[in-house]
């Protein structure tokens, strides 16, 4: 009896797992299918290429070759903004994270500083978007890649501070102490001894910041008009300006998703502590 029950149980378990795998993957799968269909087939229920419909690379060709000149602009904007904000957030976060890991700020209290950084995560973006729009307008950085880098890097620096502080704290302090005894300055110790040891964490937080800024929508919607338009805005625009062109949308959607999904899978280990600002380590 127990053997039979066990079998039923594990079959049931796998059925559930497969059901949810389909649930989570189906939308992405469907976009792939639509992207290799002729526009006339985009609304049919067929899923098997060659057997049920004639596959085509027409849509990919249109997006990647025919109109590539303008598409590259959006991808380039998003990449530049992602790299810029990733670099600044990692740098500032690394510095502050190191100080918070190694030094006790007696007057304010390290825990209070950390909590302040944490509390920033909970600010509603719309509350910032309104005044930042006016601010950017008055300093002439509206619709400007530099403006976007400034906003994203400051929004994501708190994440990087808290994640990096954890990374620094996990290192034994002895090596740094002996470097200090040998007369090395804080910055030199940080550069020569500590930083090489936290490269994985630095890379992860850099990629996370890149992903966050790649996916961000609200600030991009408010702060970009034409020159600095990013990929999500371009995506959203596919629908509103030309009606529902599912075949085109699916290609753009897949191009836009490939980058964050790849980076996300690479930094899986850090994604939880990244998303919860180091509060939960998974």
């Amino acid at each position: 009896m127990p053997d039979f029950l066990k079998l039923v149980k594990s079959i049931l378990k796998y059925l559930f797992i497969i059901f949810f795998a389909v649930f989570f993957f189906f939308p992405l799968f469907w976009m792939m299918i639509v992207s290799i269909k002729f526009s006339i087939d985009s609304f049919t229920m067929s899923v098997i290429p060659f057997l049920q419909f004639n596959p085509t690379l027409e849509n990919w060709e249109w997006e990647l070759i025919t109109t590539s000149a303008q598409n590259i602009k959006f991808l380039l904007n998003s990449t530049t903004i992602g790299l810029g904000s990733g670099a600044i957030a990692t740098l500032l976060g690394g510095f502050a994270g190191y100080a918070l890991a190694r030094y006790e700020f007696k007057r304010v209290g390290n825990l209070n500083i950390l909590t302040w950084f944490l509390s920033l995560r909970f600010l509603p973006p719309i509350a910032l978007a309104i005044p930042i729009f006016v601010m950017m307008q008055s300093i002439g950085l509206l619709d400007n890649v530099i403006g976007m880098v400034l906003i994203y890097s400051s929004a994501f620096t708190p994440y990087s501070v808290l994640v990096m502080r954890d990374a620094f704290r996990s290192l034994p302090p002895e090596m740094e102490e002996s470097a200090f005894i040998d007369g090395a300055s804080v910055l030199k110790t940080l550069r020569v001894i500590v930083l090489p040891l936290v490269v994985p964490a630095l890379a992860a937080i850099f990629m996370l910041t890149f992903t966050f800024s790649w996916n961000e929508f609200l600030f991009a919607l408010v702060l970009t008009i034409e020159k600095a338009v990013t990929v999500p805005i371009r995506l959203a625009g596919t629908v509103t300006t030309v009606g529902v062109l599912f075949y085109q949308l699916s290609v753009r959607q897949l191009i836009a998703s490939v980058v964050p999904i790849t980076l996300g899978i690479l930094v899986q280990k850090y994604i939880v502590s990244g998303l919860t600002m180091g509060a939960i380590k998974a």
Binding site: P27, W30, T115, L123, P124, P125, A127, L218, V244
Partner: protein, 289 residues
Amino acid sequence: MAITAKYKIYHLLVLIAVIYILLFSIFPIAYMVYGSFTNWRLGVPEMSFVGLQHYVSLFEDYRFYNSLQVTFYITVIAVSCEVILGLFLAELMRGGSRFFRTIFLMPLFCAPVAVALMGEVIFYEGYPGGPVNGILNMIGIGNIPWRSSPLVAPFTVTLCDIWMWTPFCFLITLAALEAIPKELTEAAVVDGASSFQIFRKINLPLITGPLITISMFRIIDTLKIFDIPFVLVGGGGPGIATETLSIYAYKEAFRGFNMGAASAISVVFLMIVSIVSAIAIKRLRGYYA
């Protein structure tokens, strides 16, 4: 001397980050709070003080009440489904394969805009229907007006949010479950406990803490939901059926150009989020010690 130099450099390292953030977060918010007491309009250089006028009129504003209702409705349903589903999946996937785990995590990395647009394709209503309505037609349930009915649209938005964020709850719950020492469950098995009993009496009490923490993160993030309803149903439509607080403030500010009124909405919104955040922060402080 060396000690003071060290002392200075540590302060400097933190101060750079703090000042950078103050410039782009705290200063703008202070300006917005000031703006909410004026008749600030986009493109009009003069601002004059109007006191509490914007706040008073919010109390009679049916769109404000609507957006509050929509936001809370979406938050309550989405978060409870995400946490419960995440727990179920974590129980299911304990010790499971990496392959399925990666598939389960994929939605988490997609841009919310991309999720909304996938929703648009999946829930397509026109003839012969997107995949969801196509399947529903096949099994005889018929077309469901996913995006065009004001009654169904909030549910569709919620569904997209659940699709995207259940993986987050799943991942953290799984980590919490895997941190439970094996001896506990093994001892229970020896004593003849059923797997449901083990779950209820051993696992659940031990992961209550993480579950509450996850819920708080999700509640705060879902209160701020903007991208999915904005893109999926055309700016909080049909009508104002999915107009969340963020969307309402956005429309007031950037379509109506009433920056003063929009700031007032944002300030009230900020206060609501702050109350929940204060509870969350109090819990989370412990994790940093």
